[in-house]
């Protein structure tokens, strides 16, 4: 990837992270940790990978994105706002009564949200259904679905994975945001999901493992996934929960908690520092 492009993506990712903090702070609740860990993936999907048009969010030939780990919608909303689906001002009303931005994605009210989700394990099935519709209708759109590494403890994930493998859904690309933490603690202590790669391989997937914060690796993985024929793809992205907010990084307590005013200032200062550093490059 060209340096200029990488810089631009990094700046966007930083702004998306700011939007996450803005939203969760104003909501006084929500899930910053897993939103921040996936921010680089959201950035790459919405600013490079997907064939989408914010002016025509229902275009039947568009690529689709299903946020199976729906609680990290502050990240999705912030990406959609940055991409122009709605004003970034909306982020401040996250989770408020009467707001467009619900606590978990609601496709009925939010432009750019392709599927309602939030009950873990369900988004991936819908993504398989969308991919299957693409096959039935001979359309060439692709379907992306982001899962948490805690989420894959849900049995439905494996029902859906078996379906995707069996039906050769090569227009489906899963991303597992492997930040290693879930509410009750480290994923390995709570659910024992490893080896994630071997599990997906056994279900008939093309499997890649990458650093989910490195845009070169992210790009290479999505590019490879597009070349895979006859089977679905999964990208297992190793990430840092709470990425780029100093006091949130790798802290399980920030899975589902909002910063107070003081913490908000520290978080924004951390991100502003990163942003000015990038802009000065």
């Amino acid at each position: 990837m060209e340096n200029a492009e990488k810089k631009s993506l990094k700046i966007t990712a930083c702004k998306i992270r700011m939007g996450i903090i803005e939203g969760v702070f104003n909501a006084k609740s929500g899930h910053p940790g897993g939103s921040l860990s996936a921010a680089d993936i959201y950035t790459y999907l919405y600013f490079k990978e997907m064939n989408i048009d914010p002016k025509n969010p229902k275009d039947e030939n568009r690529d689709r994105f299903v946020l199976s780990k729906g609680h990290t919608c502050p990240g999705l909303y912030s990406a959609l706002a940055q991409r122009g689906y709605f004003s970034p001002e909306e982020l401040k009303s996250l989770r408020h009564i009467g707001a467009m931005l619900q606590g978990h994605p609601d496709m009925k009210g939010t432009p750019g949200v392709d599927m309602s989700s939030g009950s873990l394990g369900q988004g991936i099935s819908a993504a398989c259904g969308i991919a299957l519709a693409g096959k039935l209708d001979k359309k060439d759109y692709r379907v992306y679905c982001l899962l948490g590494d805690g989420e894959i403890e849900e049995g439905q994930v494996w029902e859906a994975s078996m379906f995707a493998g069996h039906h050769h859904l090569d227009n489906l690309c899963l991303i597992v945001d492997s930040n290693g933490l879930q509410i009750d603690g480290p994923v390995e202590e709570v659910g024992g999901v490893e080896p994630i790669d071997k599990k997906f391989e056994a279900f008939g997937f093309d499997v890649q493992k990458i650093n989910g914060h490195d845009f070169d690796e992210i790009e290479a993985a999505f590019n490879h996934a597009k070349t895979v024929k006859g089977k679905p793809s999964v990208i297992i992205a190793k990430t840092i929960k709470g990425k780029d907010v100093s006091f949130m990084e790798n802290q399980v307590g920030w899975h589902g908690a909002a910063p107070n005013a003081e913490q908000y200032e520290v978080a924004m200062a951390d991100l502003n520092k990163i942003l000015s550093g990038l802009e000065a490059e």
């Binding site: 009950s119 369900q122 099935s125 819908a126 259904g129 209708d137």
Partner: protein
């Protein structure tokens, strides 16, 4: 007058899907390894490219249906009621009903008339589960003609619909040429002034038989066929309560959460009337031949007749 025929409503469902497939190209059918039993196999045979066997994974099947619906398909997702409405309840709620997707959930082998398979497969709770979901239409047709009309109506209704199918063959009761199926509109199959039997599904035919027997004893029973449990035909029920007083409900479902409670709720609010509920009395079923089980649980004409007579004496 249409010919009196005897089919299980699952058969009629399979026929209707197959017959309507050409007219409605958006319809696709999903099953979870029970196509031979739910009768979606009839559709599969004629339209293999529009049939998706999801394997024994009902929760995933409902999610697949939801995804297909976001792309303009009209998916029918079928399994036994125990699994499509029971096991996959939360998927129906969150992946289908909350986003208001155009998915039809089909629950076959509902009630105790599953027979020999026993309690694990006899779902007497599906109506309660499905009617508690906001925006869900709940259909429980009584016979061949009604089921065929209901399938068409479900296709034409945009949004989530639950359709309950029976395993046991039943004689058709809606044989009139002017029969018209409209979601949310009950059908008065027999007029009467002494009591109204409000029935659904398999028990509609039994209620008519009971009404005939009662007539011979000088009791004039009205019989209403409620094919749509939600939205319920409040007007028809209130009118019956005003005109006949006593209401007896009859359903092959737990008396908790089903037709009886839905009817009671309407009457409590609009026209307080005595309601006597016939159904499965908050217990599990067990193995046995379907017809014998129905008799044992009191879901038959003779028991309905007795209940009406006893209730009228009080």
């Amino acid at each position: 007058m249409a010919e009196v025929v005897k089919y299980a409503t699952r058969e009629s469902f399979g026929m209707a899907l197959t017959e309507l497939a050409e007219q409605y190209p958006e319809v696709v059918v999903l099953d979870a390894d029970l196509a031979a039993a739910t009768k979606t196999g009839m559709f599969k045979k004629k339209y293999p490219d529009r049939f998706i066997d999801c394997g024994i994974a009902e929760c995933n099947m409902v999610g697949i249906a939801a995804g297909l619906a976001t792309c303009g398909k009209i998916p029918f997702a079928a399994s036994f009621a125990m699994f499509s409405a029971g096991r996959a309840f939360e998927q129906v709620r969150n992946s289908v009903a909350y986003p208001k997707l155009n998915v039809k959930i089909v629950g076959s082998h509902a009630g105790i008339s599953v027979g020999e398979d026993g309690a694990t497969h006899q779902c007497n709770e599906d109506i309660a589960l499905m009617r508690s979901i906001p925006g869900m239409v709940v259909l429980n047709p009584a016979d061949h003609y009604e089921m065929k009309a209901a399938v068409k109506a479900a296709i034409e209704h945009y949004g989530p619909v639950y359709i309950r199918l029976g395993r046991l063959a039943v004689e058709s009761v809606n044989n009139n040429d002017d029969y018209k199926f409209e979601i949310g509109k009950g059908i008065t199959l027999r007029d009467g002034k002494d009591v109204t039997i409000v029935a659904t599904g398999l028990l509609v035919g039994e209620s008519l038989k009971a009404a005939k027997a009662l007539a011979e004893q000088g009791i004039d029973a009205r019989v209403i066929d409620i094919h749509t449990i939600k939205p319920l035909d409040r007007e028809l029920i209130v009118k019956a309560a005003k005109e006949t007083g006593l209401i007896v409900t009859a359903e092959e479902h737990n008396v908790i959460g089903g037709l009886g409670e839905a009817v009671s709720s309407v009457l409590c609010e609009e026209c307080p009337t005595r309601v006597v509920k016939i159904g499965v009395n908050d217990e599990f079923g067990h193995s046995g031949p379907a017809v014998k089980l129905l008799e044992q649980f009191g879901l038959c004409a003779s028991h309905i007749e007795e209940v009406v007579k006893t209730a009228l004496k009080k």
